[in-house]
Symmetry: D2
Subunit: 219 residues, 4 copies
């Protein structure tokens, strides 16, 4: 059994909660109010910038040059394709990257990003990748899980947004990340990988919850 499959299985009890979260269900069925979706999308900017930082830390800590090069390619994809696609999507919604950059990220967004940065800064590249994998992977699984609902989804914004996570480009990136975890995770303490994969999965769930409830800073 692949390490990533084992991680996926061990986190299944969280992922099922993610699939059933009202934000996800309502988004894919098209009934999520736009005033819940827009703040979520604008706040995503902070996550995207954090991802560039996060993968750059991994580049700097990679032991092998081959892994380093794969990570550089991911940084480039994040910094170019993802930022570009994200910016175009914002424009289609009547916003800009500048608008998004001015949004203060909420507590759960910050907590999630700091967890990822602490993991990449203080643990190994294998653990850093296992921590960030639930984000990339669960977005794809959610999109596959609800793919049949999309044709009847009345909100074209949501249909467009969801299409990204089943695109060839996205699947290629996801498989690259899974492949890295499977190769770096060999001869590595599985419990350490599991710990951060579970934690990353928890933050995915909690982040959906935070944006659904529009949790902000209480003071």
């Amino acid at each position: 059994m692949k390490i990533t499959d084992r991680l996926r299985r061990d986190a299944d009890y969280i992922w099922r909660r993610i699939f059933e979260h009202p934000f996800v269900v309502e988004l894919y069925s098209g009934i999520l109010p736009m005033d819940k979706f827009i703040p979520y999308i604008l706040e995503d900017y902070n996550y995207l910038i954090g991802a560039i930082r996060n993968f750059s830390i991994m580049v700097s800590r990679a032991e092998s040059v081959d892994v380093m090069k794969e990570l550089v390619e991911i940084v480039r994809l994040e910094a170019e394709s993802e930022v570009k696609g994200y910016g175009e999507f914002l424009v289609s919604l009547g916003y800009s990257l500048e608008d998004a950059a001015q949004i203060e990220p909420g507590p759960m967004n910050v907590a999630y990003e700091n967890f990822l940065l602490i993991t990449s800064s203080f643990k190994t590249v294998a653990e850093a990748l296992a921590a960030v994998l639930p984000c990339f992977w669960s977005y794809h699984e959610i999109a596959v899980f609800y793919q049949e609902r999309l044709p009847s989804n009345p909100n074209q914004v949501y249909v467009d947004w969801a299409s990204v996570y089943v695109s060839d480009e996205y699947v290629t990136l996801l498989n690259k990340l899974k492949g890295l975890v499977d190769s770096l995770g060999q001869n590595f303490d599985y419990q350490k990988l599991k710990e951060v994969f579970i934690q990353g999965s928890r933050y995915e769930y909690m982040y959906w919850d935070a944006v659904y409830n529009r949790d902000g800073w209480p003071v």
Copy 2:
């Protein structure tokens, strides 16, 4: 006006909320149920260990040898006096350091600690100290604010716990931290110090709230 006084003034709207938080009010008046206090105390272990990490990062990043030596002294105080006092307090409650070490810290504890570690790892020592100062300082101010209530506080555990934060040793440590922020903060962008001081103050408030509500990991 000292930099620390300016920071204190600019965060006053948060600190007043802290003083009035039910956990604080009930603790100092003695009516806080012990089953809210015990989990809080046990979870403090993670914060204490995190503080040793945090100040060690600052030692390693200090530009001046004098500052480095002051920070080494703080690490030593945390790792010896504080851990010792904390362990003795646990014993008086029927617990041990080993019990505390086995508690999984909740989401807000982790978020707060990661904020501190990210600040010390990625920003300057001046900012790292400004981020952690609200914790040390607000505990003292709370204890002073409610000092008159202590004689009539029926719960000796709370009286003992509170006495630490007005002790000479604690005030000396607090003044050392304030002195470092005042000296390192000179010729430094005040807005950067304010940003992390506000953020640290927010986390203080939110942490009291989390322990009062006994917020755990939802998944």
Copy 3:
């Protein structure tokens, strides 16, 4: 006066020593023995990989998103164009990237790289860029200084190698780096920038000396 011009002027006493170093003089006049050039070129691999690490650290530590994006672009250039060009040059000499990867870098190469990584890890992005600038800049200045000698240089390998450092692509990269130091260096303690720029210039000189003398590990 631009900050970079001031740095250049303050390091001039070292740079003149670099221009006159026998490795440089003999390379540009074409009389450098190939058995001094080949080990130098093979050892360059370690410097190139170190540069990717170094700029990735800067990406992760950049305060502004605009600076971060410029640094990501530099990482990409290093990891793709430079590695590709370097690999092709190796092939033209009868070697491969794999050969270069197997060379143990000598003491000065390691000392220089560690200085750069320590600077980017423990100081600001402004200082990290000022530390690495002498490398990029002095290679260009050397190439300009000796440009007239190239037509009569009998060693086509050296002519090809030198042409890179006056190419449009290289000058664009150099100007980008200088521009970043000039903008980030504003409102920054000039002495700190000077200290690392001088140190980087010293390592450039000492590295030419080490490869000329083929200094290896004595034990």
Copy 4:
């Protein structure tokens, strides 16, 4: 066979070179000129400060709280006992800590320290300890190796200096470090430990050589 014994055996070819190095031989026989010893002692300041940084980085990266506490104790020893003893020794020679602080460390001192800091920053605590162990250990072995010569050593300064490295306090510290490498090195790739132990041993040799030749910055 203990891991530390295996490391010691695998580095023996370097350590024998250290024992026979003229700086060491002349120091222990008492004929080393004081104008070689004084610059070495003054430059040691930078190594001592670097050691505090180095062990603080390890504290911040320790996975287990027990290891963290042992490392905090080492930081404290370095920052207090060692700095104090070093300062008193300087005074006996007519110098002060302030004099030592003003000495610019030479290239080999800087290269060695940066190697240690890079190792602790980018590798595991096990590797960081294996990298710094040759310094602590070889000083003790040298002192034991030449212990018989001390009674006839005419230079009391050298006799006093050497006595530190066979003192109970020093041996306790050394054994603590060896114990940490032996315990953290279990279930760890031996080759990685060997690599940094060899590198640390090389730097020990090269540093004796640099101070014997009074190597400074050439520019």
